[in-house]
């Protein structure tokens, strides 16, 4: 017992054998110039194509065999010196065949020669052929026959500039011919769905899709006709193609053909006929995937717009955006059961389109988002992850385009779309927004925008009702909160009043964050506030901040490592403050140096102390420049480094960290360059010698890191010496 596929293989093999057998006799007839026999055997050969047993795929194989043989036959027909019959008579002769399928294949073959001979106008012959082919109503056989007709006629259409062009308006004949063949083929193709052996729907659709390109080929031919200019496309070609598409009422065909139209015809034609093309969309079957069709159209137009700035006026002229927008609205309205992802995909495409075509029209962007909100609000809860992805794409598109969150913040519908995201996605989107701000280093400088921004990222700021707290990933959470902390630094305005408002808003939002978020966010807020206080000359407020900071340091920070971090923070912050008077400043710097010298480890002490040197030297125009106290700090650091060295010797019988000395040397060089008179070249010279001695002492362990550090420091000095000029002179006296 054979199964279906094996049966098919067998039938195909039989068919091929039949073709080969008859082709053999046909060749003999051709070789002996025997027309009668040639006709007889070619008709018998073509009779193999009358089979109903093969699937389209296998039938195609059989067809191709016959096709190759027909090419040989055509050569014979063409040469009337071989058979002595005029092409006109030949055209009649082949019609004597009793079976219709072989008869029509032969007729098309002779017809092709008939046109070439120019004994009759191309249009007459073509019209006759396309009309006679009606006799084959079997879908597969008809499709292949007509595809043969399309194939042999392709280069013989009475197109403009073609050698077959007739007197007047023959392009129209060419177009009519192709359109008619297209229409008939499409009808046959659609009919396959309803006819043929009963089988499962999927199988039939698969078989049909194997044949789709035979139908689509006609559209391709149409697009290649020189004479089909915009005018003709608009007036004839498109309306007639669409008429067929709409009337066939078949979802597979409609989807394929719409896509085909979009792909084969030029962009500018689409642009100029948008209304017609879009007008067909709501008339398609409800099961047609219109969204993909429209998306592809918009993608094409977007690319077209991106291809050259010259074409943009065209888009404006035809009001492409509003037409597309309307069409999408209608489609979504008409297709009630379209899944959310479909609708949103459409909006994404429209958004991409408008971003490319009308980047200046923020109102368009907002309009699209608004429409999307409207659609989303009809859906109780968006749970489809693909839909969610599309929403993210929708929201990310403007950010990517404008590289500027500030622009997005002016879009009133932006936060409303975000409201429809689930908690996870909402956070994800908030992160995208923050990253965009960071990447572009955009400063958000008005309170209103800050307010909108916090509305957007509220998923990160506070616990949302219904969120499952246990699900939180610790690392993700940290990263999110760190991002928020970084974000706060980007909210800045030089105007104290506005800045205050901003701080208030930030405070309002961050304070509801709960104990897990506050440690991340508050410090940023504090720094921000401090910066504002500094900027606004409100000394007492700033002083209070520092007082509180020192209090916290004393009372709350017990861990030595945390102390190191904290003291460096304090030093760094204090260094940037210029709001303080001499007295307050002295108090604070004194405190800071004091805490520095009292850190647990010598090395930490040393580093904190030399960092303190910067508190007395602010490299701004009117910053404090107290060279003496800088030197004091550095000397103190040196002493600590010495002590550390000795302690190390005692403790382990080996040298301590020489690198501390090198670090201090670098500070010396920094201040030397900055023009601190207290730092002299001889001091630097001395320090270098000291380090060299330390390095060479037996007790010191070789330390490659310190060696390298020293070497590059010395190289730097060497470089400065050689550079000449003022700096060269300064470094002149240092001997290495």
């Amino acid at each position: 017992m054979l199964n279906g596929t094996e049966d098919e293989e067998k039938w195909l093999a039989e068919g091929i054998a039949g073709i080969q057998h008859n082709a053999f006799y046909m060749h003999r007839a051709l070789d002996s110039n025997n027309l009668r026999e040639a006709l007889k055997y070619s008709a018998q050969m073509l009779s193999e194509l009358r089979t109903s047993k093969l699937s389209p795929h296998k039938y195609y194989e059989l067809y191709m065999r016959a096709f190759d043989e027909l090419k040989r036959l055509e050569l014979f027909f063409k040469d009337d010196s071989k058979h002595g019959v005029s092409v006109v008579d030949l055209y009649e002769l082949v019609q004597h065949a009793g079976n219709i399928l072989p008869r029509l294949y032969l007729l098309c073959t002779v017809g092709s020669i008939y046109i070439k001979s120019k004994e009759a106008p191309a249009k007459e012959v073509l019209k006759d052929l396309v009309e006679m082919c009606r006799g084959v109503q079997h879908p597969i056989r008809g499709l292949f026959l007509r595809s043969y007709l399309a194939q042999i006629s392709r280069d013989k259409l009475p197109d403009i500039g073609s050698e077959y062009e007739g007197d007047a308006d023959t392009v129209m004949d060419a177009v009519d011919f192709v359109l008619q063949n297209f229409t008939e083929m499409n009808k046959l193709w659609v009919r396959m769905q309803h006819q043929g052996p009963g089988g499962v729907r999927e199988k039939r659709e698969k078989e049909r899709s194997e044949l789709q390109d035979l139908v689509g080929k006609n559209l391709h031919v149409l697009s290649q006709i020189e004479g089909v200019d915009l005018e003709m496309y608009k007036e004839t070609v498109l309306p007639r193609v669409l008429e067929q598409v709409v009337n066939c009422k078949d979802d597979l065909a409609q989807y394929y053909l719409m896509d085909c139209i979009i792909q084969v015809f030029p962009d500018e034609y689409h642009l100029q006929t948008l209304e017609t093309l879009l007008g067909a969309c709501p008339q398609l079957q409800p099961t047609v995937d219109v969204k993909t069709v429209l998306s592809r159209l918009m993608d094409r137009l977007s690319n077209y717009a991106a291809s050259s700035a010259d074409v943009l006026p065209e888009f404006l002229q035809v009001e492409a955006f509003s037409k597309l927008s309307n069409a999408i609205g209608k489609v979504i309205e008409a297709q009630l059961d379209m899944p959310a992802v479909g609708a949103i995909t459409l909006y994404v495409s429209l958004l991409t389109f408008t971003l490319r075509v009308h980047p200046d029209r923020l109102d368009h962007v907002d309009q699209v988002l608004g429409a999307c909100v409207k659609k989303l609000s009809n859906i109780p809860k968006l749970e489809d992850s693909r839909a969610m992805k599309q929403v993210v794409a929708l929201l990310s598109a403007p950010l990517e385009k404008y590289n500027d969150i500030v622009t997005a913040l002016t879009l009133s519908n932006y936060p409303r779309v975000m409201d429809h995201l689930d908690i996870g996605t909402n956070k994800l989107m908030a992160m995208v927004i923050i990253q965009s701000i960071m990447k572009n280093n955009s400063c958000i400088s008005t309170a209103d925008k800050v307010e909108v921004l916090f509305e957007l990222i509220k998923g990160l700021i506070k616990d949302i009702d219904g969120a499952d707290v246990d699900e939180l990933d610790e690392e993700d959470f940290k990263e999110e909160q760190n991002s928020v902390a970084r974000l706060i630094h980007m909210l800045y305005n030089d105007e104290p009043e506005e800045m205050l408002k901003i701080i208030c808003i930030v405070r309002k939002h961050t304070m509801v964050g709960g104990p897990k978020r506050l440690p991340f966010t508050v410090s940023s807020l504090v720094f921000s506030a401090l910066r504002a206080a500094n900027g606004c000359d409100i000394e007492h407020v700033a002083y209070e901040f520092f007082t509180q900071a020192f209090l916290l340091y004393e009372e709350e920070i017990a861990d030595s490592k945390a102390q190191v971090t904290a003291i460096h923070l304090i030093i760094g912050t204090l260094q940037r403050m210029n709001v303080f008077g001499v007295e307050n400043r002295d108090t604070l710097t004194h405190k800071a140096t004091g805490y520095s010298a009292r850190l647990l480890k010598k090395a930490d002490q040393c580093r904190a102390v030399y960092a303190c040197s910067h508190l007395f030297w602010v490299d701004d125009q009117d910053g404090i420049k107290d060279g003496e106290r800088v030197l004091l700090c550095l000397k103190r650091a040196l002493r600590i480094a010495n002590a550390a060295q000795q302690m190390a010797n005692v403790a382990r019988g080996s040298g301590g960290p020489v690198s501390l000395f090198v670090e201090i040397l670098n500070k010396y060089i920094y201040f030397f360059e900055k023009g601190n008179k207290q730092i002299t070249s001889s001091a630097i010279q001395g320090l270098i010698e000291l380090i060299n001695t330390e390095m060479q002492s037996d007790s010191t362990n070789p330390d490659s890191v310190a060696d390298a550090f020293l070497a590059s420091t010395l190289r730097y000095i060497q470089f400065q010496k050689q550079k000449g000029g003022v700096m060269g002179e300064k470094f002149e006296s240092i001997k290495l």
Partner: protein, 301 residues
């Protein structure tokens, strides 16, 4: 009886020839023995002119009671074997009784002969024209020689030639409308037409157009009807849907057709029909037959 004489070798040879034999058109004619020979073609009202040559063998003497030539139009019904109905019989005496010693030539002429019927070779009937030369003899049988010829009559194109148009169907199953551009066709004509499907509720497989020839012979209770399908021409492959129209273009030249013969000498008729046949997937056949008139057209032959 004549054949018996042949066994004894006739004492002379008889040759019948037409004066314009070389220029006259020859057409094939199927003889009783199945062989096809080429014979002269005439039409009604023509003069049939020629000569008969009698040539005694080896100087033998042929005694006779007179020589004559007859032009016979005969209808032969096969079921009535042996009986010929002569609807035309013309005689010319060529010689008075006497003796023949040597080759002798007799010219003959039948002027403007009425030959209203065409030569026909059917299933049950044959209509033929012959020239028959008889040398009458005493005591022994006559010497007879035949010469067939073919008559074809041409008719001008009919002044009225309506199309055949008809709507037929099976209620709620199949409704079609068909149209043949003419009701009268000459023998090399083309049948042009179309079939329009108004309603299709059965699964059709294909559709063909047949040319059927109906020969009826005899009359009354002894009527014999023989129907032959001369052409089967596939018009459509597959199943159409409502609204489809299928073209018809059938060239008649490849088929061996005759004009329509109506009641020829009250002996027989030959009529032609177009039979449109639709076949469904269960091989049921639905058909509609329409008579067409065939005629012989001078230009086209």
């Amino acid at each position: 009886m004549n054949y018996l004489v042949g066994a004894f070798k006739p004492p002379c040879n008889i040759f019948i020839s037409f004066t314009d034999g070389r220029s006259r058109k020859q057409v094939p004619l199927k003889k009783e023995n199945g062989k096809t020979v080429m014979v002269a073609l005439f039409q009604s009202q023509e003069n049939i002119v020629g000569e008969v040559v009698i040539e005694p063998i080896h100087g033998k003497k042929v005694e006779h009671n007179g020589v004559k030539i007859e032009l016979l139009g005969q209808i032969e019904l096969y079921f009535d074997r042996g009986n010929f109905y002569d609807f035309t019989s013309l005689v010319r005496e060529l010689d008075v009784p006497g003796e023949l010693y040597e080759r002798k030539t007799y010219p003959f002429e039948f002027s403007t002969v009425e030959m209203p019927y065409e030569s026909y070779n059917g299933v049950n009937v044959r209509l033929r024209y012959i020239l028959k030369v008889t040398i009458s003899r005493n005591y022994v049988s006559n010497i007879v020689e035949y010469q067939d010829f073919v008559v074809r009559n041409y008719t001008p194109p009919p002044s009225i030639n309506n199309s055949i148009k008809m709507e037929v169907g099976i209620e709620d199953c199949l409704h079609i409308e068909f149209e043949y551009s003419k009701s009268k066709y000459h023998l090399k004509d083309v049948i042009i037409g179309k079939i329009y499907f108004l309603l299709v509720r059965i699964k059709l497989k294909n559709m063909e157009l047949e040319i059927r020839c109906r020969e009826s012979t005899g009359s009354g209770p002894n009527t014999y009807v023989e129907t032959e399908t001369l052409a089967k021409f596939e018009l459509m492959d597959g199943a159409p849907v409502r609204g489809e129209s299928i073209p018809i273009r059938l060239f008649l030249s490849p088929y061996e057709l005759t004009p329509t013969y109506r009641n020829i000498n009250n002996k027989f008729s030959v009529k032609y029909y177009l039979n449109l046949v639709l076949v469904d997937e269960e091989d049921r056949r639905y058909f509609k037959q329409q008579e067409i008139t065939m005629y012989r057209n001078l230009e086209a032959s």
